[in-house]
Every structure is written in C-alpha cells, then in structure tokens.
C-alpha cells in the first residue's frame, strides 16, 4: 500500500474501514498503523465528513406503506384471505388506530375485488402475522 493509494482509498470510501475494499483493507490498516503521521490527517478529515453524512435522517417506514406492501404480497401470490374485513379488523386491533383501518380499507377492497375468493389459511396467516407486533427477522430465520 502506497501513500498515494491510501489517500485515494480514503478519499473514495471515507474513514470507516468497513467501507474499504475487502482485498485492500488489511494493507490499508497496516499502512495507517505504520504511518500515522501521513494517515491520521486524511482519516480525521474523512471521518468528519462521514459523521456529517450520518446525520442524514433515515426515513421511517410508515404503517400505511408496510400494510400496502403486505397486501401486495397477498395479491401477488393470488391468495387473498377469506375476507378482507377480517384482516382490517385485525389491523385495527393491532394498531389500535382508526387511521390504519382507513388507510388499509382501500387496499383491502382491491384485494377482495380482484383476488379469488377461495379460502386460504396461509394468506390469512400473512395478514395475521402482520398484525402481530415484534416479529423479529432473526426469530423467523432462526
């Protein structure tokens, strides 16, 4: 790792080692340790910009968006629940807010109108699980 390459790497990827190219990470870290006088100013400068970039707020997924996406999963798989009303009620119970019902009513209506009406416990389970708060990714995947 040359000083020139180290500076180019920090200029592109910043100071966070996790963002550095995997095949150059060890060499760059070794360079930084061995040549702190050269590396530290570049890292400090890049770190200041990284910190600012992290101030960009991460958008939060609204319940309405989440529900639309879940409803789309049901539609896409062609397995509408037994009745849209059931899961509207469940969403209402889960979120305890009228807005959720109002927001989802239109989506549910579309699902009911367009999907086949065959009862399918699996699709119903999607919506039931959607109404349960706190299902964790890692729990599901084990």
């Amino acid at each position: 790792m040359t000083a020139e390459r180290f500076h180019a790497l920090v200029a592109a990827y910043g100071a966070d080692r996790r963002h550095w190219p995997e095949d150059e990470r060890a060499a760059a870290e070794a360079f930084a340790a061995a040549h702190a006088d050269v590396a530290a100013p570049a890292l400090d400068d890049a770190d200041a910009l990284d910190a600012l970039l992290h101030r960009s707020p991460t958008p939060q997924v609204s319940m309405a968006l989440r529900d639309r996406v879940l409803a789309a999963a049901v539609t896409a798989s062609g397995r509408a629940g037994r009745t849209g009303r059931v899961w509207i009620d469940r969403l209402s119970l889960a979120f305890g807010a009228g807005w959720a019902v109002a927001t989802c009513a239109g989506v549910a209506a579309g699902v009911i109108m367009t999907a086949n009406f065959a009862a399918d416990a699996q699709a119903d389970a999607v919506l039931y699980q959607a109404s349960l708060l706190g299902v964790d990714d890692t729990e599901v995947l084990g």
Binding site: L52, R55, A130, L141
Partner: protein, 189 residues
Amino acid sequence: MATFADPDEELVRRVGQGDPAAIQAMVARKLPRMLALAQRMLGDPVEAEDVAQEAMVRAWRQAPRWVSGRARFDTWLHRVALNLCYDRLRRRREIPTDAPPERRDEGPAPDRGLLAADVGAAVNGALARLPDRQREAIVLCHYQELSNIEAAGLMEISIEALESLLSRGRRALRLALAEHRPGAEGVSK
C-alpha cells in the same frame, strides 16, 4: 450450486412458497432499505414510497421463480429500485419546466436556529444537488453499505470509475457542508 453465499437465499425460497412468516421477515429486512435508497436518490418522500412499494411488489413476483447462485437477491432488488429511481429522474428531466424540481428537506427553517435536524436536512440537500451518478455511488457505498464490487456491478462501471465518482462526490459534499463541520462557526451538535 451457488458460487457465493447469499444471506437472503433461504428467506427468498420461503417467500416463494408463500410462507407468511418469511413474507413478514422480508418486509422487515428489505422495505426500510429500499425506502432509504429511493429517498436519497430522489429526495422526495412520496416518490420514494412509491418506488419502495413497487420494488417490493416485484420481489413478491420474482421470489417463486428465483434461481439462487446467479446474483444476490439484495443486489437484484437494488437494481430494480435503482431502475425505478432512474425512470423517475428521467421523467423529471423530460418534463419542461422553468424551475428545477422542488427538493425537499433543504436548509433550516427561517424561524429557528440551526438545529441538529437541520444539519440532516442540509446533508440531504447537498446529496440532492450532486450529479445523479455521484449521488448513486455514495448512496450505494456509504448508506446502503454495498461492497465496491457490488456497487460497481450495479452501476455497470469499473471499480476505478466508481472510486472516481465517490471521490468527486465526497469532495463536493465536503465543500457544500463546510459550515457544518466541527470547528466551523455556528455548527450545531
């Protein structure tokens, strides 16, 4: 036989089978990621929601016929979302207008000082003003935390070209955000 590990492989398989828990997990894992990508690419929360939703709809359609080993599912989903973003960016350019598209979340409110939230808005504003390809490179590498190989592959450019975009983008951001850097006058915590 997969030639690389795809952390989403098992989840996609279960989604393809209509497993309710897997669908729920996929939403938890990918929807925030797609929303963040679209928000930073487009700078418009409404359009970002539309893009994130459409990307997930395509994921539901793709999952039953997903063939593992060809690509990471996350990379494929990024490609879908990026294409949707570029469609919208292209449409903006094609619509004749006297004024540039409105960018939201720019600058502090006039009736208060520079608060922490305003720094975030300033960062978003600076990102929005970058050329599209520089913004894409920074969003993919810095915010979406893709590897340089994945990002370059998605952008269909060489690693060298990616690094050039990243360097120029970061240089422009450094200039645009100079007043917010530690030690700058009026910087907020």
